[in-house]
Symmetry: C2
Subunit: 419 residues, 2 copies
């Protein structure tokens, strides 16, 4: 543990919901809450996911409270059905009664009437169910709902418990102002953080460089995902830590392919570069089936530089729309550097984009041969300076190959834009 | 809690990694492990995410062990860097020493030599780091690695602790055989589960139907996500529970728009129907930017029915490639039922697909007007029976609008296929 972490206030997060455990819903709240707490200077001891069972939830709450965190965020289980038991579990863990809160009831009433009006349904049967959502532990303050369910804030033995709904949109609307108040009261000091992003090396090649540079005052974390490595360097205040941070960044940048050291992702770099150059891009996708276009349009305002393109999953679309020569397909196969190049050129001239970016590969699980195994991917980029084609051999299942290909395509575009 | 759950063996999951807490990596292992345990008949009491700190991890392990679960799965932190401390924390919590295991070292050695050969780098400096990965708590049995890091299995006071690497691909290769052995020993009986999938209603409309039918012997869970509701009904063995299950399914199916009661997702239904009919589909995407094609190619073998299509993000691509009349764009705007229809027809004739499926909408955050607010989306489907266009007004942020649109497009295609 670095010196910085010893003085940081503790926090913990408890998420409730059978659907988070049995795989029906992929949770986003845990990462959202813990990241936001860390960024505001808290140390998160745990994110716990628990089933919709009052006794189990109350048990987890008591254990988390035993650490005396400054903040305990609880999310989910504030709805109207029988398995929504979170507020009752909080009351049980805190040794408090549950009672209807007039302000909470007023908020619920307004929201339910609005929902009924919008859907054109009778409000009466809804009210009966909704009344449950106005029950809070005695002494708790309601949080105005972003959907129907109000949240609650209460303090138990020095820990502020914040109860929020599980719907990510509602949670993300209600949480930030609460966090700001809590961070101000806790006088939490966010660490200074540098993110270095690397592409084209494995974690094993990063470790020796890291260990050769002194960094005992820093928190250093290494993450590998779909072909990228992210190094997160966190420094407490103080000149010595600052010097270590500067030197470590220098050492890493000198020895390794660091493509971003200002926090920007490859998506943001590509977007900024295209926009600054007044350039546009279009895609020609085979194995990624549209995911590359989907990724390029994730950022708001992407219409400034993204025109669109062609999903050429079938060969008939490759020849018909992208004008890939049939002879090329016959001679080299659809998964070949030649076809990747032709697809990139084809979509560039078809759309008039500055850059054409293509993907063709074998995502699997079937379709691989000895010569062309599952995971073999070609990515093409055609632009004003000519054409580049990159070959990749990607390990992993179908989704991994496709996601890795999308990331690799962004990096090829980044390099073409740097040229 | 239903009677079935009282006899089910307990399980718990602990995931380690700062990157899971600070938002650099979105965890998939927690949901994967808990779902697999639930499907094999265990009851999961908790999924805990903890930072890379030995004392914190050991503390969580001790608390989870205090519940005496049959199985405790621990994942992550088996790498070679300083913040990989999981095996040491397990040893600490179990009160055991850490010692190099000859079999584990042999496995690490082989993997490291293979990695070095593939990358063409010197093996010696890697070996020094990798030695750490052969250290196991005394008495533990190593699990053969799927990457470099071996896992471990040990039993502490009746709890089997399974330690796995955090890389999802490695974890998912190493876990299933261990789970099968554990489930056999625990004589866990998987509950009989029915999944009902609904589209086009909100949770509030489901609750009254649910409450009108007796289901005290069943575990019933309701999940809402991007426009769909999933009801998971789990029954213990016995004739009374079976009768309740059958009647509840009947009541729900009679009152609500259940589109799937055999477990199949809308993706699988559409795929099966297209394949059975020998039909094909092509996409014309504006606001989804390729995500619809990406989703339609998620299932292996999708080339049987998916041809590809056009990402028409810029209006120039809508007119140039999809032959959307410029007058139509001028008169109604790109986000209009007319243009959605033209896009669907355009891609159908361009590719020769049986069905053309289009999306056009305002994903936001900018671009909304009073007449056409953010979240307004039109989806078109052109097929042998003619054309359908659906209007949606979707709440939420940019990613929500886009994901919801993709799901809604699959449902429109499903309905066209049923016609």
């Amino acid at each position: 543990m670095s010196p910085a972490t010893r003085v940081t206030p503790l926090a913990a997060v408890l998420l409730t919901g059978d659907e988070l455990l049995d795989g029906r819903v992929r949770d986003t709240n845990g990462a959202y809450l813990s990241r936001s707490l860390i960024e505001r200077g808290f140390r998160v001891r745990a994110v716990v996911v628990a089933p919709d069972d009052r006794a189990t939830i109350a048990g987890h709450l008591k254990r988390l409270l035993a650490d005396a965190p400054r903040v305990l965020v609880v999310s989910g289980g504030l709805g109207t059905t029988h398995d929504d038991v979170t507020m009752a579990a909080v009351a049980q863990a805190a040794g408090l009664e549950l009672r209807e809160h007039p302000e909470a009831w007023q908020a619920v009433l307004e929201q339910v009437c609005a929902v009924a009006a919008r859907r054109g349904i009778d409000v009466e049967p809804l009210l009966e169910q909704a009344r449950k959502q106005a029950l809070l532990p005695v002494g708790a303050t309601p949080l105005a709902p972003a959907g129907v369910a109000p949240g609650a804030v209460l303090t138990v033995d020095g820990t502020t418990i914040v109860v929020l709904p599980g719907v990510p949109r509602e949670l993300e609307a209600m949480w930030p102002p609460v966090l700001e108040r809590l961070a101000a009261v806790a006088q939490a000091e966010p660490p200074r953080v540098r993110l270095l992003r690397l592409y084209g090396v494995g974690e094993m090649q990063v470790v020796p460089v890291l260990e050769a540079a002194r960094h005992d005052l820093l928190d250093v974390a290494v993450t590998a995902s779909v072909g990228e490595i992210t190094l997160r360097l966190a420094a407490p205040s103080g000149a010595a830590a600052t010097r270590q941070m500067v030197r470590l960044v220098e050492a890493l940048s000198a020895a390794l392919p660091v493509y971003s050291s200002d926090g920007r992702t490859v998506d943001e770099l590509v977007a900024d570069t295209l926009r600054a150059a007044g350039a546009t891009v279009a895609v020609a996708e085979s194995c990624t089936g549209g995911l590359l276009g989907g990724r390029l349009t994730t950022l708001p305002g992407s219409s400034d530089y993204f025109l669109g393109g062609v999903v050429a999953y079938a060969d008939s679309v490759k020849t018909g729309l992208l004008r890939v020569p049939q002879e090329q397909l016959d001679a080299h196969g659809a998964v070949s550097p030649q076809v990747a190049g032709s697809m990139a050129h084809g979509v560039r001239s078809l759309t008039g984009a500055t850059y054409g970016l293509s993907t063709t590969g074998i995502a699997g699980p079937a379709g691989g041969t000895t010569d062309k195994p599952v995971g073999l991917v070609y990515i093409g980029c055609a632009g004003p300076q000519g054409e580049r084609v990159a070959e990749h051999r990607i390990g992993g299942d179908r989704q991994t190959v496709r996601r890795w290909t999308v990331t690799a395509a962004l990096h090829l575009l980044r390099r073409c834009l740097e040229a």
